[in-house]
Symmetry: C2
Amino acid sequence: MRLIENWFSERYSENLQLSFRVMDQLLSVKTDFQRIDVFETYDFGKLLSIDGTVQLTEKDEFVYHEMITRVPYFMASRKPRSALIIGGGDGGAAREFLKLGLERITNVEIDSQVVEVSRKFFPSLASSFSDSRVTLIIGDGAEFLKENRDKFDIIIVDSTDPVGPAEVLFHKEFYNSVKKALSKDGIIVTQSGSPFYQPNGLKLAYNGMKEVFRNVSVYTAFIPTYPSGFWSFTMGSDSPLSARGDEVDPGKYFNARVLEGAFSLPQFVYELISG
Amino acid sequence: MRLIENWFSERYSENLQLSFRVMDQLLSVKTDFQRIDVFETYDFGKLLSIDGTVQLTEKDEFVYHEMITRVPYFMASRKPRSALIIGGGDGGAAREFLKLGLERITNVEIDSQVVEVSRKFFPSLASSFSDSRVTLIIGDGAEFLKENRDKFDIIIVDSTDPVGPAEVLFHKEFYNSVKKALSKDGIIVTQSGSPFYQPNGLKLAYNGMKEVFRNVSVYTAFIPTYPSGFWSFTMGSDSPLSARGDEVDPGKYFNARVLEGAFSLPQFVYELISG
C-alpha cells in the first residue's frame, strides 16, 4: 500500500475516496490470501486495512463488533451459550461474545497472519483468543462446516466483502451448511456491506439466506470509517426472531432502543431486498 | 475552491477527508456571506458546496430533505398546514413540504446567491420557489422572526453548520423567538450536525432547545456525503410528540418504520445529549 504524502486512501469507487492522514505505516505484508496494512492514524488510532479496505480502526470498531454480536444475542428466543465466528481474525467479535457471557466460542479464521497482526497491534481485540472459552482454528470456514458435528446457538460471518476469498460465504450452499450447525432456535448473522455502494452484496446475502431460512431480517448501523458510513447485517433463523430488550445492558453503540430501531430500514433498502 | 487533479475534497478535520472526482467545476463565487461552488461529479451528479462543505448532491439530497420535513410533519398531533423554513435556499425543503400538501410555506434565506445558484443548477429543487404556496424572502432568519406576527405549524432550520453566519440559529434566544412564531402544537426541527465529528453542534442545539421547549427529541439519518455519513436533527415542541405513522406514504428514504426507528439513538449519542 503506497501512501501519498502520508495519506491512506480507501477508494470507494473510481470517483470517491476517504483519506486518513497517518503518522506511520506500521506494517505492510502480503499473505497467501491478501495484503494486510496497519497504519497509525491521527484521528482514529490504529487502522487495519485488508486489500486497501478499512477493516477496523481503534476509534470506531466498537460499532461493528457490538452490532454483529449483540443483535443476534438479544434476538434469540432463549439465551445463547455458544457461538461460531467465521472470519473475525482480529478477535473483536470473540471479545464481545465473551462480554456477553458465552460459554463456548469457536473462531475459524482463514488467514493466520490476520491473527498475528491483531495480536501485535490490536491486543485489546486479540486478547480474546487467550481466553479458555475461545477455540481458535486457522482454516477455511466453509470447509470447517463440512466436517463439523457441533451445534452453535449463534453463527456469525465476520468476513471481508463478497469479492475475493469471502465470496463463497454469501451463497446458498454455505447457508445450508450453516443451518446444519445451528442448534434449535439458532441464528446466523452476516455482515452484508453498504446498501448504498454495494447493494449487490446485500441482495446476495438476503436472497441466499431466504432460500434456506424461514425468517430473514436486515438491520443497519452507522460505521463512520466504512463506505458511506452506513452498514448492513443480514440475519436468518428458522425460529421466530423477537427482541429480549429488557435484558440489555448498553454498550457504547448498542442499547435496547437500537435493538429495535436497527431493523427500521430506509425505504430504498427495503425496496432493494424486496425487489 | 482549488481542485487537485480534478478531485474536490471536503476536509472533515486536519486528518480526514472525503474526495469526489469531478468532471467540471460549474461555478465558484464569493458572495457577501460565503463561497459557493458547484461541481459536476461522476458518481453523485451535481454537488453544491458552501465554504468547502458539501450541502447537497443530486444523488443523495433526498435523505436530508425528506428527513427534515416529513419527520416533524408526521410527529405533529394534528396535520400541519403551514411551515417556515429558515435557510433552505436551495429549495429542497420547500419542495418536500409542497409534496406533503402544505398550504402556506415561507422560506427565509439570507443569501440570494444560494437561490440563484440553485435556480440555475438544481432546478428540481428550486422550482418549488415558483409555486404560489411558497413565499421566498431574502433576509436574516433571526431578524425575520423578531418582526414576524404569523404563526406556523412547523419551523425548520435548514442552515449551514453552527460556525459562521448560522451560529445564532443554535442559541436559546433564537429558539425563544421561534417559539413565539409556532402555532399551538407547533414543532421546530433543526439540522444539528454529525454526532460523531461535531458533537458540540448537537449539544448546542439540544441544550438550547431544552431551555425553551417542554419536549425535545433527537433523531438521525444516514447521509452518505455528509461527514461520517451519520446526521442528527433536533426537534422541539411544547406539545407531546407522537407519530402519525398510519398516514405515511413512503418516500425514497422515509417510511413509517423510519419515523419510529430514527429516534433510536446509539448509546454514545444518548450519553452525549444526556451528559
